[in-house]
């Protein structure tokens, strides 16, 4: 079951060969966040799956039809890596040749993402925000009562068990956060940008959560504040657009943000990347918190159930269990 998740890893690999920025994202998302989320979900839902499945023929048929359609479609495609393909002739050359003068950012991906197609990115932030709200609306728990003592004890135990890891991570976490900031602000020049930085940031805090327990983490990073930050990030992005609109240009036209178009573009891209980073980090965190919160709540219920069951069992079957 778990191997399914690791399949993502190999998928990353194809990407690495082509595109730096995408590889970056895929590395942090595919291998990191989505794997963690799946793990958290699997712990709740259980690892077992039904052994058999009765009628895969229809599915197989659909898949075969779709697949052969696709193969059929590939026959007329331009060859892999062909520089004469229409893709490289029509729109892209302008990005490659002129973006340096027009936007002034060496990383072309960033300049396309942040300026030429900034509205797509706004949509992307909105998608993430939607997912955050959606998860929240599905999973958020009402304020919980104080935790049971025994649960806390096991958490405590957990720390003791992971002594080495904990110390290492303690040293690593600030470094990861710092690295996230580097990715955030270095996105103009190298691979990176708001999204990747946000994910890395969130990953660092998730690491913290995993080692020190959800409640400790919630004390440090207040969930309400995180949710607010998600909104702030999206607003920041949209407001950059509105400001440029108020300055008399079109929505998300950064040229008017400063006296000189290129520095205006710089300011604009910086701000929106910041917005992206904030939203992504906080949404990822709040999703993870909610997943983990559910898990904990379930674990508590189960623990209570088990306790009562065990008490009953213990009376009768003590010696039997020992021989086992």
């Amino acid at each position: 079951m778990l191997t399914g998740i690791y399949g993502l890893l190999s998928a990353c690999f194809f990407v690495v060969l082509d595109a730096v920025d995408v590889a970056f994202t895929e590395a942090s998302v595919g291998a990191g966040i989505s794997g963690l989320l799946m793990l958290a979900a699997i712990t709740i839902t259980g690892r077992k799956e039904a052994p058999k499945r009765h009628k895969p023929f229809l599915a197989l048929f659909v898949v075969l039809v779709t697949g052969s359609m696709l193969i059929y479609g590939t026959l007329d495609m331009p060859y892999f890596g062909d520089p004469e393909a229409p893709v490289h002739q029509h729109v892209a050359p302008r990005y490659i040749h002129d973006s340096m003068e027009e936007v002034g950012v060496p990383n072309i991906v960033t300049s396309v993402l942040g300026s030429y197609r900034a509205f797509d990115t706004l949509g992307e932030v909105a998608v993430i925000f939607t997912a955050g709200i959606g998860v929240l609306s599905l999973l958020s728990l009402p304020r919980r009562r104080k935790k049971i003592k025994s649960e806390e004890a096991t958490e405590e135990q957990m720390h003791e068990r992971h002594m080495v890891v904990r110390i290492v991570s303690k040293a690593l976490i600030p470094f990861i956060l710092l690295f996230a900031l580097y990715v955030q602000f270095h996105g103009d020049f190298g691979p990176g940008g708001g999204f990747q930085a946000g994910v890395i940031f969130a990953a660092a805090i998730i690491l913290y959560t995993m080692l020190f327990g959800l409640d400790t983490a919630k004390k440090v990073f207040n969930p309400a504040l995180i949710q607010l930050l998600a909104a702030v990030g999206l607003l920041l992005y949209a407001c950059v657009g509105v400001v440029s609109m108020l300055n008399g240009a079109n929505f998300l036209d950064y040229n008017v943000l400063a006296d000189d178009p290129v520095s205006g573009q710089h300011i604009g891209i910086l701000l929106i990347e910041l917005g992206v980073g904030i939203t992504v980090a906080s949404v990822m965190l709040s999703i993870f918190f909610n997943f983990d919160g559910r898990r904990q709540a379930q674990a508590e219920i189960q623990a209570e159930k088990q306790q009562s069951e065990q008490e009953q069992k213990l009376k009768g079957e003590q010696d039997v269990s020992r021989t086992l």
């Binding site: 068990r161 992971h162 890891v165």
Partner: protein
Amino acid sequence: MNLVIEIISGLSLLIGCFLCLSGGVGMLRFPDFYTRMHAVSVTDTLGACLVLFGLMLQSPNGLVLIKLILILLCTLFINPSASHALAKAALRNGLLPLEGKPDNQGGNKPSKL
């Protein structure tokens, strides 16, 4: 001087790769989890260090060098502690080492390979 650096870098890459390979083979061939772990974690760390060291010698500028050093540090930190945590978790959850004579192996079927 340049030649010396080239040779050293090539050598360390070579040794590193050899170590990695042996680790990989070990992971595949060793009978149970703990021996596999031993094979992997020991060779992995050293192999990675050597490869990175070899790359460092070839690095064109300072920033690349620094990044390589950072990666090296990361591996040095992370690999052993991850292995440690893994071994501990395995032990705690009732995975016992394979003990005793090799001829015991057949009956247990620890792995297909």
